[in-house]
């Protein structure tokens, strides 16, 4: 029983690595057209996942391991009542707010630390402290100090994610091409141009890496924040269902949110990355 539950918690990994698991029979066709091939193989792995789940549910006890159909029924019910969209959007807004704050601040601080040695020395200790402070401690302290409100909730999540962004961006800032800096200096380029035309494009892969790992980390922390101190959102609902021992509803909410995140990944992050990498693709 526990073994199966563990499989389930890793389900996002299964969905995220569709290309590696594609069937060889359709591999050739899939790789020709990237975007469509992506969608096809993602769909395929979702179907495989559902099939495995169905088989597992037939073996297990329905109360602790509900079948896909039961979960789908709950999802439909919750959508109809308006509960699921309400809580999903509450969580999603928190994720987006915390993510944007963490990414913007993280890029600014990471860039400053990577480029200016005195700033790096000044903030390095703070960074190490933040990196090692448990998420739960930050959340509790935020609620205690700021109050049980939205500012504390979103702030706590952003602070949790911030050090990881800073560390990644700092590496990127250190790896920047000094030749291009000189070019900018020789041509007296404005600060704006240096930032948007020279520095940020060089940081783009590092920003993309932070965004990828960030979005999934942020939503997991948002759930904890909601569980501890909010009265709506997926985290709040999960806590409620846990007390009612309603595993099917827990599945319904978790899967719905993963589906939302997967949609963001496929429709927003991946196209953005493809666009940003246009110049790389053309190399051959």
């Amino acid at each position: 029983m526990t073994g199966r539950r563990e499989d389930f918690t890793h389900e996002d990994v299964g969905i995220r690595g569709p290309r590696r698991r594609g069937f060889p029979s359709c591999g050739g066709e899939v790789s020709v057209k990237r975007p469509r091939g992506n969608a096809a193989s993602t769909l395929l792995s979702v179907l495989i996942f559902l099939a495995v789940w169905q088989v597992a549910a037939m073996v297990g006890e329905s109360r602790v391991f509900p079948a896909p159909s039961a979960v789908a029924a709950i999802i439909a019910e919750e959508i109809a009542s308006g509960d699921l969209p309400y809580h999903l959007s509450a969580t999603l807004l928190r994720v987006l707010a915390a993510f944007s704050i963490a990414l913007t601040l993280g890029v600014a601080i990471g860039l400053a630390m990577g480029r200016i040695r005195s700033v790096d020395r000044l903030l390095d200790v703070w960074l190490v402290v933040l990196l090692n402070l448990p998420a739960l401690v930050i959340i509790i302290l935020a609620y205690v100090w700021v109050g049980l409100n939205e500012v504390a909730a979103i702030g706590a999540v952003a602070v949790n994610k911030l050090p990881n962004v800073i560390v990644t961006i700092r590496e990127g800032a250190r790896a920047m091409d000094p030749d291009l800096d000189q070019m900018a200096k020789a041509f007296r380029l404005s600060v704006r141009k240096r930032l948007f035309d020279i520095m940020l494009p060089q940081l783009q892969p590092y920003i993309a890496a932070s965004a990828r790992s960030g979005l999934s980390l942020v939503w997991k922390i948002v759930l904890v924040v909601e569980l501890l101190g909010r009265s709506n959102g997926v985290g709040f609902q999960l806590n409620l269902f846990f007390q009612l021992f309603d595993v099917a509803s827990i599945f319904a909410y978790a899967i719905s949110f993963v589906a939302v995140m997967l949609t963001i990944e496929l429709l927003v992050l991946q196209p953005l990355e493809t666009r940003a990498n246009r110049w790389r693709v053309r190399t051959t």
Binding site: D179, L180, Q182, M183, K185, A186, F187, L189, K193, D197, I198, P201, Q204, R278, W279, R280, R282, T283
Partner: protein
């Protein structure tokens, strides 16, 4: 570390001067000081206030994530959006505007780098070994292009090179530097018109210079 000493050069307005000498004699350092990329030096630079400097680096140093057109426009001040057609045509880059630098050969990338330096309508054009690592045909083509645009736009041009033939072919004046500590050894004025500088002329001049400055001119 001292790279350059007693370097006293006066370049007349609109002239084309070549700085030559063996490697390690501070040629590139001198250009960098002129462009104010190196500020740790003693001495004076007499440039008219607000003089625009176009720098062509040894490597093209283009932004790989911007197109050729965007790379050239990057260095323009403010919201100036001049028509670059003539400049691109002069340098044979008409078809290249929408390409990315990663798609260009080194010769083409060097031309874009030259276009970028010229786009700001420079008062001073600094060329740091702009023809190295090119095959002879491409290098020769680029030398002709440099000469063409220099004649058309007349920036005061300072070219660093270790190739004597190239200097004889292009420059109005050659300044010969010696290394450690680097200093000016000679100033050679070349007043033969450019179109009369055929291979025989270049070879004769080179032999003459090798005879006069053995060890410094190859």
């Amino acid at each position: 570390m001292e790279a350059v000493r007693d370097l006293d050069i006066v370049a007349p307005d609109g002239s084309l001067t070549a700085l030559i000498g063996p490697s390690g004699c501070g040629k590139t350092t001198s250009l960098r000081i002129l462009a104010r990329l190196d500020t740790d030096f003693e001495g004076t630079i007499g440039l008219p206030p607000g003089a625009r400097i176009g720098f062509v680096f040894q490597e093209p140093r283009l932004l790989p994530w911007r197109t050729v057109d965007q790379n050239v426009r990057l260095v323009l001040e403010g919201d100036k959006q001049p028509d670059l057609k003539t400049l691109f045509a002069d340098l044979g880059l008409e078809e290249m505007g929408s390409r990315f630098p990663t798609e260009l050969s080194l010769g083409l990338a060097r031309r874009v780098s030259l276009a970028r330096a010229l786009a700001i309508e420079p008062d001073v054009l600094l060329l740091d070994e702009p023809f190295t690592s090119l095959d002879e045909t491409t290098a020769q083509r680029l030398r002709h292009l440099v000469l063409t645009v220099w004649r058309r736009y007349r920036p005061t041009t300072l070219m660093v090179t270790h190739n004597v033939r190239e200097a004889i072919q292009l420059a109005e004046r050659i300044i010969l530097l010696a290394p450690r500590p680097s200093r000016v050894v000679a100033e050679i004025v070349l007043d033969t018109p450019h179109d009369q500088r055929d291979e025989a002329y270049v070879e004769a001049k080179r032999t003459e210079l090798v005879g006069r400055y053995p060890g410094l001119v190859a």
